[in-house]
Amino acid sequence: MAEPSDLQSDDSGDDGRERDIDGGLEGFVDALVSHQRDIYAFIATLLTQAADIEDVYQQTCLALWKKRHQYDPRRAFFPWACGFAKNETLKQIRRSSRQVHLTEGMLELLAGAALADPRAEDRRVALDACLDKLSRPQRELLRTCYEGSRPIKAIASSMTISAAALTMRLQRIRQTVVRCVEKTLAAWEGS
């Protein structure tokens, strides 16, 4: 399988520690474990729906595992892994043509932009703070919907509201959180 070159970087980006433990399997495993959340986030930027993201994430990790001998610890792991993730995403979109996905051209455009998130760790800390700022019912609703154990319709029914009203409520809460995270990051940048 040919990996796309546009997502690979010549910039090492690593501090040398990734050449860990015999420079072999364990170094690869360390890099995969430490970047699994970033890989998942990269895929989620392109695919949006939980079941698709999960499938592509699993397939990406499997593809990386099969190609682990090609892993060069002198190069940055994450851009290399994102090449696999993008390939698997495109395969998934071609397979599930009945669902509405972004077009391949748009995915290419977004993939480049989604790759670099130097503030990923800050973003997670900011998200913690912003979730704390939500009211308890808002936080519980968000969690219930994201857990995925019950369909939106069932959750709406138990709240005696329509699914459309629940979707709108969810969208507003999510927007509140997104704006809070961006504001928090901007404030930290200025401090």
Binding site: Y40, E54, L62, Q171, R174
Partner: protein, 495 residues
């Protein structure tokens, strides 16, 4: 749900958010998608989309009921729940069931025999081979392509087989192996058990004995019988009576299928068991003299605020010097310990002298990500690991699902910078652990002992002898979340 579209390519209030939500929640239409893509042509809209999706991704990662990550190339040990792979696995399973119903399952009505890979030593598997590890279960049809090292298999009826690379082995049945190339030994201890090993030129049948086989690239088979007796037949002459080779004798089947007793020694000694790592020993192996011991540094790392610039005395501890640390390394008032998220190292001055024994310790717990470590540094480099001598790392997990069973990726200890001078095979302890490095500078070459919760896991000589050690270092690998507490350095002098 309705919304008012703005002009082509420009988002009005909420339109972009609405379209993104529709896509996330799975009810977007093709028209929604087209409109969204028109808006995403604008860089500001793309930035908002990516911001939203990053939060969406993080919420899914935290809360969505996700499947454990399983890395396997075998469809019958599927990525459970993965719709795609599961569908493929169902197809293969159906085909297998059909085949079994046609040819009959050899162990019908009995418990299914199992082959377990019980030990490996310096083993390197070929890329074409599945990533077997110690503890993996193998089944008929599985192949091991071993480029180097040793692999030990436990077959049913207490049969132990040791494969020595380079070697290629296929499991035909639990007690029927195909050795295409390489060396193996088999030990059968139970009466009535049997094992057949086929090579390109021979069939070896054993019923309670110990023997070695060496198959070269031309297929020539060299058989050595250590105990008991073995039947040897040439595949080129299937109708002939097999030869019986008894203990202390050797026979060869050449590439043309000729069988002959030989009296030359084997090209190298056979390996009958795979060496196991030494168990950790209680700590008594390093010199320590409590009567002369004193504390140089004691920092509980409990409290609040940034670590950088603070001193142990700020937290009721003792010791000179102030911490050098990344700006975002701070003490967590909730957990009461140093909680670290970003790559880097925290350093506190420490310069060992000759003629002493130092004990450097910290309590580590890796909560998420890869690993955290304690060690010694030679310079004030806080941006990277900063671990130059005598350091040991602890992982979040040492048992990873890399196949159909867990594989152990141990913690590790090193004498030198980077990953130079690895000591021992590492330990597998996770959770909150007290990790101690003992530095003995009393001899001409300095000696290091690594301990986990007072169990010695390895030791070695520091070479070159600790030139310019300047700091005690705490370090985390990228994207790792860890807590670190109770950093302490004690010293004693020989009595």
């Amino acid at each position: 749900m309705s919304h008012t579209p703005g002009a082509a390519g420009t988002a009005d209030n909420g339109e972009l958010a609405h379209l993104i939500a529709a896509l996330c929640d799975g009810h977007a239409t093709t028209a929604d998608r087209d409109r969204l893509e028109l808006l995403l042509a604008q860089p500001t809209a793309r930035a908002e989309y990516i911001s939203t999706m990053r939060v969406h991704a993080e919420l899914l990662w935290r809360w969505h009921r996700r499947r454990p990550l399983r890395l396997t190339t075998r469809p019958l040990v599927p990525l459970l729940g993965s719709r795609l792979v599961w569908a493929a696995a169902v197809g293969v399973a159906a085909a297998c069931l059909l085949a079994v119903s046609l040819i009959g399952w050899p162990w019908a009505g009995k418990s299914k025999p199992a082959i377990r890979l019980t030990a490996v030593a310096e083993a390197r598997l070929a890329e074409t081979s599945p990533p077997y590890g110690s503890g993996d279960m193998l089944a008929p049809g599985d192949r091991i392509d071993l480029e180097a090292g040793l692999v030990e298999l436990a077959l049913p009826a207490d049969i132990v087989v040791v494969l020595e690379g380079p070697a290629r082995l296929e499991i035909r049945e639990p007690n029927d192996l195909q050795l295409d190339q390489g060396r193996l030994t088999a030990t059968l201890t139970r009466r009535g058990s049997g094992l057949t090993v086929r090579t390109p030129t021979a069939v070896v049948t054993d019923r309670g004995t110990q023997f070695g086989l060496d198959v070269d690239t031309a297929g020539r088979t060299d058989l050595r019988v250590f105990q008991g007796a073995v039947e040897l037949a040439a595949t080129a002459d299937p109708g002939s009576q097999p030869a019986v080779v008894t203990a202390g004798n050797a026979a060869e089947v050449d590439a043309d299928g000729r069988v002959a007793l030989v009296d030359r020694p084997p090209r190298k000694a056979f390996v009958l068991t795979v060496p196991r790592p030494e168990p950790a020993r209680p700590q008594t192996a390093y010199p320590w003299h409590p009567a002369t011991a004193e504390t140089l540094l004691d920092d509980p790392l409990a409290g609040d605020g940034r670590l950088a610039g603070s001193s142990p005395a700020d937290r009721g501890g003792s010791g000179l010097g102030r911490w050098l640390a990344p700006a975002d390394w701070s003490l967590d008032p909730v957990t009461g310990v140093l909680r670290v998220r970003s790559t880097g190292a925290a350093l506190l001055p420490f310069q060992p002298e000759a003629g002493r024994v130092y004990r450097i310790a910290a309590t580590l717990q890796v909560l998420e990500g890869s690993w955290a470590a304690i060690g010694l540094a030679t310079g004030p480099n806080i941006a990277t690991a900063g671990l130059d001598y005598a350091w040991m790392l602890q992982r979040q997990t040492t048992s990873l699902r890399l196949h159909d069973t867990a594989r152990t990726i141990p913690n590790a200890a090193y004498l030198g910078p980077g990953q130079a001078g690895r000591i021992g095979r590492g330990d597998t302890r996770t959770g909150s652990q007290r990790r101690t490095i003992v530095l003995d500078t009393t001899g001409p070459s300095w000696r290091v002992f690594f301990l986990v919760d007072d169990l010695l896991i390895g030791s070695g000589d520091l070479s070159p002898p600790a030139d310019g050690i300047s700091h005690v270092a705490l370090s985390v690998f990228e994207n790792t979340v860890a807590t670190i507490s109770d950093v302490r350095v004690d010293v004693c002098q020989p009595e």
